[in-house]
């Protein structure tokens, strides 16, 4: 079921852009595995094809299904008399898995039996969940293309949301302007946090993976400190902020029955923007050149260190925007868990999207659907939402290792890029 949906996300990325994606930036030359880490990363993500993506999703869902089946109480009960009635076991397994994935599918799309409006049209919940995933996924995608691994989306989301929150609940501004100010503040906050990693990478060579991981935790501590002191809601004993002013919130797109908000528009604009930036602008050309081969880019007169700094600023800003859509779209109050699992989901989204802007968009839709459906699965089929994390991570592992899927299904390698094989 979700596999069908995945088909669209697996095949669409290349064709959906405002313009067709520029030629694959994976460099034709230089393939020594010992070369720059980031370069290899870019190539890894680019290699493989849509078929692999679809199969990866199918296999991951199948493994998830096995887990669900074998931990179901009815199945274990039926297994007790397996040899007298083996059919019962398989029927129980089918019931458990179809119930769980059925609930997942209905929760993410359309459920005619739900009593609430939100529940009936889960597709809008999917879009709501997808919104921050699109933006943070883009953040990771953009950095990937320069050969940087931005694991810091979480921290950038938190700091972005904090900046947005300060403007959103401490300052009063006229409608319209207020929301714009919130969005800009969030982008600046995220950009600052991402910029630290970019600056240190460019100036001292500090590895961005380490720095961004550490900055994630620093951001959590920092926001906890702020929420205990200057930003705390005086009427609450918990470390949470006061609610955002109404003027600072994204307008709801479909009325009060659905949570879907105008942040989605920001996200789609960001996809178009990043797509343009990467494929049409001079800066994007530099980024791709640096990502493909930093040494060659330096020889060609590009300022690699400036590239690292600017890309982390933009990447951080995108993640900061994801924080804004969380705070001003759905959460309304700031707490230390504002980023939830989005920071790490962003990495999986970017990998599934093969670090192309529109690929990231559809990957975020898929994972948004998992999140929306996972909630309904937890309620209606008593299957913990953790299974979604399992399926997501398996998808990414399989996609990252095409030879594994190929050998599973005996597919011959379509392209020979000499990278992952």
């Amino acid at each position: 079921m979700s596999g069908v949906e995945m088909g669209s996300s697996g095949t669409a990325p290349d064709g959906q852009g405002a313009k067709p994606d520029a030629p694959n930036p994976a460099p034709p030359e230089a393939k020594s595995a010992k070369e720059n880490n980031g370069t290899q990363l870019v190539r890894e993500i680019m290699s493989g094809n849509a078929m692999i993506s679809v199969l990866a999703v199918v296999v991951a869902l199948a493994i998830g299904g096995i887990l669900i089946a074998f931990t179901d109480a009815r199945v274990t009960a039926a297994m007790g008399y397996f040899f007298s009635d083996p059919g019962a076991t398989f029927r129980a397994m089918w019931a458990a898995v179809s119930e769980a994935y059925g609930a997942l599918w209905r929760g993410a799309t359309y459920d005619p039996n739900s009593r609430t409006w939100q529940g009936r049209l889960g597709i809008f919940e999917t879009l709501t969940f997808a919104t921050p995933l699109i933006l943070s996924g883009l953040a990771v995608t953009l950095a990937f293309r320069v050969g940087l691994f931005n694991i810091g989306a979480k921290g950038q989301i938190i700091i972005g949301a904090t900046f947005a929150g300060v403007v959103g609940f401490m300052i009063e501004l006229p409608p319209g302007i207020h929301l714009i100010a919130v969005v800009v503040a969030g982008a600046i906050g995220g950009a600052l946090w991402g910029g630290i990693a970019g600056f240190l990478k460019a100036k001292t060579g500090a590895h961005e993976v380490i720095v961004t991981i550490m900055l994630n935790y620093i951001a959590v501590s920092l926001v906890l400190y702020l929420l205990k002191n200057p930003l705390r809601d005086p009427s609450s004993s918990n470390p949470i902020s006061p609610a955002m002013h109404e003027t600072a919130m994204f307008p709801l797109l479909l009325g009060p029955n659905y949570r879907l908000h105008a942040g989605l528009i920001v996200a789609v604009l960001a996809v178009i923007g990043v797509s343009w930036l990467l494929n049409r602008s001079t800066l994007g050309f530099e980024y791709r050149a640096i990502g493909a081969n930093p040494r060659a880019a330096r020889t060609a007169g590009m300022l690699v260190s400036r590239g690292y700094i600017t890309v982390m600023l933009i990447s951080g800003a995108l993640a900061g925007l994801a924080g804004v859509t969380q705070l001003a779209g759905t959460e309304k109050t700031l707490d230390a868990d504002i980023a939830g699992s989005i920071g790490f989901d962003a990495i999986t989204v970017a990998l599934l999207g093969r670090s192309k802007p529109w690929g990231t968009f559809f990957a975020a839709l898929l994972f948004g659907a998992f999140k929306a459906g996972g909630t309904s699965m937890a309620i209606n089929a008593d299957v913990s939402i953790d299974i979604v994390a399992v399926v997501q991570s398996l998808i990414v592992l399989f996609i990252a290792a095409p030879p594994l899927i190929r050998s599973m299904f005996r597919i011959k390698a379509v392209r020979h890029e000499g990278v992952t094989a």
Binding site: K34, T71, L200, H207, I210, Y217, Y225, V390, V419
Partner: protein, 431 residues
């Protein structure tokens, strides 16, 4: 993972000609901080450090220090050392090691006096501080040793968190089922090996980017243990969650040694896992730097091609080391559910795997360094929870940031130079 991209050339350049002003500047800023915070804004009264517990055999009197006077002494020494660092840098471009060491110790003392003097009770039990810290330090040490093992062979291990969590879960489950803590301990090591086997499979066999694999494995283990926790451990039989009642490993105090003030309760009243940790740190240090095996491992991590040329099987060495690392981290994970607390809870490792990564880097990929860094981070973490109850001038959250901030300083060259093995993170493909 080439922590410092320009590291190799700049390391030589630093030694020869170019003076790095980072360290003198950092010391200067810290000295200024000492003057302003410890002296001008410092608390009045005294800070009491209680060394002995009431039931100790040897009683050591409490250490009572006047806060203001200590603040002045500390900031004068810090300022003098910062100036010394400045003049040494100007003269030779190098700073004597003892200057940095003394500065750090004096500054930490000043910090402690200031923090304790600023609490409402103005006293702290050092035994409690250090023994409590072991609850954090022990898993950190195992985690960072797992990192040492795999990164010394050239495989970046971001999956420490996942290995710890898998160990904690499996230990709890198996120990509950078998009512035998040792079975749980063994199962935890196996679970760690399984996680690292996936790391090895994907990063060595399929040459997937090691960082990606690590990140994804963490999510996978978190999801898997969370799912199984809900499905299995929460299942009640006769109103009791029988699958989450792990048998515990008992503490084994060592006679005499356990009576030494502070160190005794900290190191010699531990469980089996704690003693194993002490042995492992030393053994691994010896193994890596004094044996043929260690030389080979380090060769594989630094220059795999050269190692291959002299007949070392690079990828087999890497796989073995990654698997061994997994076993080590799995045992560290078992500490959570067999010693520290008596049941498993979702995501109970709470990011300690990433602090272990920080300890590994801060400890310069050296087992003993990593263990000391883990101790530092453990003490800071425990101090944070003690002080959050005691009401302090500094918010506990800033102490919580300490490991991460120090690590960033270390990788960007402010606190010495953290240099990863040269081939860390780079797959080796025979040409």
């Amino acid at each position: 993972m080439s922590i410092t991209a320009k590291s190799a050339p700049s390391a030589h350049v630093d030694a020869v000609a170019i003076r790095s002003w980072k360290v003198p500047i950092l010391l200067g800023v810290l000295a200024l901080f000492a003057v302003v915070v410890f002296v001008v804004l410092g608390p009045t009264g005294t800070a009491t450090f209680r060394i002995s517990q009431d039931n100790d055999a040897w009683q050591v009197p409490d250490l009572v220090l006047p806060s203001k006077a200590m603040g002045i002494i500390v900031s004068v020494i810090c300022a003098a050392l910062a100036y010394l660092a400045y003049s040494q840098t100007r003269a030779t471009g190098k700073i004597a090691k003892w200057v940095l060491m003394t500065f750090t110790i004096v500054f930490v003392v000043g910090l402690m006096v200031w923090m304790i003097g600023g609490t409402t009770s103005q006293n702290i039990t050092l035994v409690g501080l250090f023994t409590g810290a072991m609850l954090i330090t022990t898993p950190l040490v195992f985690g960072s040793l797992s990192g040492v093992l795999s990164e010394r062979a050239g495989v970046v291990n971001i999956a420490i968190e996942g290995q710890l969590l898998a160990g904690a879960f499996t230990a709890a489950l198996v120990s509950s089922i078998t009512h035998n803590a040792f079975a749980g301990l063994f199962a935890a090591a196996v679970a760690g090996v399984l996680v690292s086997a996936m790391l090895a499979l994907f990063s060595i066999k399929y040459v997937v980017n090691q960082i990606i694999v690590g990140v994804v494995l963490n999510v996978l283990v978190s999801g898997l243990t969370g799912f199984l926790f809900e499905k299995i451990m929460k299942t009640k039989v006769d109103g009791v969650t029988i699958y989450n009642q792990p048998a515990q490993l008992p503490g084994i105090p060592i006679p005499l040694l356990s009576e030494i003030p502070i160190i005794g309760p900290m190191l010699f009243r531990q469980s089996l896992i704690g003693y194993f940790m002490l042995i492992l740190v030393v053994a691994l240090w010896f193994g890596l730097f004094r044996t043929r095996w260690g030389l080979r491992v380090r060769a594989v991590g630094e220059h795999p091609k050269a190692a291959d040329t002299v007949g070392i099987n690079v990828n087999r060495t890497r796989v073995m080391n990654v698997l061994a690392g997994g076993a080590v981290a799995g045992v560290g994970g078992a500490y959570f559910t067999l010693v520290a607390v008596s049941s498993f809870s979702k995501d109970m490792t709470g990011g300690l795997g990433f602090i272990a990564l920080a300890a590994l880097i801060f400890g310069r990929w050296n087992p003993i360094g990593a263990a000391l860094a883990a101790l530092l981070f453990g003490v800071a973490g425990n101090l944070q929870s003690i002080l959050s109850l005691a009401g302090t001038p500094i918010d506990g959250q800033f102490l919580a940031m300490l490991p991460y901030a120090l690590t960033i300083l270390a990788v960007s060259g402010f606190v010495g130079k953290a240099m990863a093995p040269a081939a860390d993170g780079e797959p080796y493909v025979k040409e």
